[in-house]
Amino acid sequence: MKKLINDPRAVVNESVEGFGQAHADLVTVVPDPLYITRRDAPVKGKVGLVSGGGSGHEPLHAGFVGFGMLDAAVPGPVFTSPTPDAILPATMAVDGGAGVVQIVKNYTGDVLNFETAAELAQAEGVEVRTILVNDDVAVQDSLYTAGRRGVAGTVLVEKIAGAAAERGDDLDTVTAIGNRVNSNVRSMGVALSACIVPHAGQPSFDLEENEIEIGIGIHGEPGRHRIPMENADGITDRLLDPVLEDLGIASGEEVLLFVNGMGGTPQSELYIVYRRAAQVLAERGISVARSLVGNYITALEMQGCSITVLRLDSELKELWDAPVQTAAMRWGR
């Protein structure tokens, strides 16, 4: 294992410390228990947005803390949900009196830890709502399973719910808009290589030189199935088709197309995937009204990507376009 780290157990703390120094104009880092808030938190009268989860998905979530997006991020150890004792003070710190929305990716650990923190915060008088993100079509959704995972759609939920909060929407409205994004977004991913979790020291799964994993998540878990390597267009079709089908999107609709890198794939390759995805959407009469391409939610240095499609309406478009000023996403100011 070759990594630019010191002690594997210090990875998250040291990284977040550096992050806080590099972006001191945007964020404040509270070291113990560890969480990150926007510099001007709490914003009086604004609904606060808190997200978090295991580390290793950078820039998610800390990179999205700032004006127009998250008020706080709570990073756990690598691929391990943070604990209530960090989520709680983060929640309290960003309550501007209008309540707090938690954006939680649907993993058992995240759900349980955020749930506990929410209860504790409510007990301290803060109104808390939860948006559960579960956009991964690789996983069958069923009452008898842990349900679909939250993956790249999370970034879009955070941006759009963040814009709603920033324009002054109340707690229920922000929650409803976040849930609307979640209902209209689907993703699917592929891995060309595994990643190495620092404390584990070996690849999260073993792939042969000519194999790829279809339907991977963002934690180095193996995917749904393994196939021989294909070209970019073929892989793109394999990811995009189930996304479009699950979303039931029709000719004439407008979408946001998001090609996300898993951390170790060159940007040039993401654009090759984007090109094919845009081609397929055009052929189906679906109009790509907004785009996002890059490493926004990663699995350490995993090679691969995911494709996310969000069905847009005019309000979601407006909220997407609204100004945002964070370390990893910025426009309009």
Binding site: T80, T108, H199
Partner: protein, 222 residues
């Protein structure tokens, strides 16, 4: 002679040792059907439990378990943190004020732990989770207590049933937790949380059997 505070402390020390020793094994199990962190999470958690025990020695078995619950909830994270946290918390509540845990109270505490895990995680028997270690463990404990066995033997019965339960998760198809994302591919691997549960119950049983062997001798610490 039931189980006392010294037993609880000895159990937690043994648990920490066991988690450190089996850290890589639990990581390997989690690597196959999860995200490679279970061993690290449990090791980090019980290391913190031992540190906390040193800072603030507990005054009753329940206090020891409650302290453990709080530390695990704030140090483990992931799915295992809240689940084990709840299990220890509920067990502590079931023990109440008693300084001397007899077989029946012990069984209620184990049952409470299991109920806590199920309440939080909603897993059923056969879902390939730690619940599949706890269900047979509680049943075996109850049988032993009913048969009039002392607390140490009750724990020993629970531990060996949990070990069998953990092994029995191998052919199961996961329906809860991270392994469920794998669908059919989860079959053929042992559930890491079931394995850590068996290890924890084994540590509890070993601490009890040591207490027993000391109990007879005059230089016993209590």
């Amino acid at each position: 002679m039931g189980l006392d505070t010294a037993w609880a402390v000895a159990f937690l020390h043994a648990a920490a040792l066991s988690m450190a020793e089996h850290r890589d094994e639990l990581i390997a199990l989690d690597r196959a059907i999860g995200d490679s962190d279970h061993g690290e999470n449990m090791d980090r958690g019980f290391e913190a439990v031992v540190a906390k025990l040193g800072d603030t020695p507990p005054e009753s078995p329940a206090a020891a378990l409650k302290l453990t619950a709080m530390v695990l909830m704030s140090k483990v994270g992931g799915a295992a943190g809240p689940l084990y946290g709840t299990a220890f918390l509920r067990a502590a509540t079931a023990l109440g004020e008693t300084a001397d845990v007899g077989p029946d109270v012990l069984v209620s505490a184990l049952q409470a732990a299991l109920d806590g895990v199920v309440a939080r995680g909603k897993a059923e028997a056969g879902d390939k989770t730690m619940v599949d270690a706890w269900i047979p463990a509680v049943a075996a404990a109850r049988d032993a207590a009913t048969a009039g066995e002392p607390a140490a033997a009750v724990l020993a019965a629970a531990a060996s049933a949990a070990a069998a339960g953990a092994a029995a998760t191998e052919p199961m198809l996961a329906r809860k937790g991270r392994a469920s994302y794998l669908g059919e591919r989860s079959v053929g691997h042992r559930d890491p949380g079931a394995q850590s549960s068996a290890l924890l119950l084994l540590a509890a049983a070993q601490a009890a059997s040591q207490q027993d062997s000391h109990a007879g001798s005059p230089e016993s610490p209590r």
